[in-house]
Symmetry: C2
Subunit: 73 residues, 2 copies
């Protein structure tokens, strides 16, 4: 699997969960203590997101961290 696609699969999973919660990117960013531009770039598969931000995003979505990885191998 090429590097870009791991980031994009993660970004798509994040977007799907965010939309499921009815949050805008801005709302999610605020809940997670991250910048809205950062959240947008994660969803577009542009970021190699690290552990601490992954956990912040999961918490902001009220899901377990592992739930963000359901679409990845």
């Amino acid at each position: 699997m090429p590097k870009a696609s791991i980031k994009l699969i993660f970004g798509n999973a994040l977007r799907a969960l965010r939309e499921d919660r009815g949050y805008s990117q801005e709302e999610l960013a605020e809940r997670a203590g991250l910048h809205r531009n950062y959240v947008g770039s994660v969803e577009r598969g542009e970021r190699n997101v690290a552990l601490e931000n992954i956990v912040k995003l999961a918490k902001a979505l009220s899901v377990r961290t592992k739930d963000l990885f359901e679409s990845l191998p």
Copy 2:
């Protein structure tokens, strides 16, 4: 949860899965295409590991990526 502990919980989970497989840190590093010192520092909770390396480590352990997050909230 303080930042250090997320990294350490992840590191402990990685170590447990690695030992379960009977791999040394060096064997795991080689299978994952990473440096053995890097793997050691991840296990000690010193690294904010990013998405692409998380997926490499899971693949090298023959587990799903989400299995590395079982101990995290």
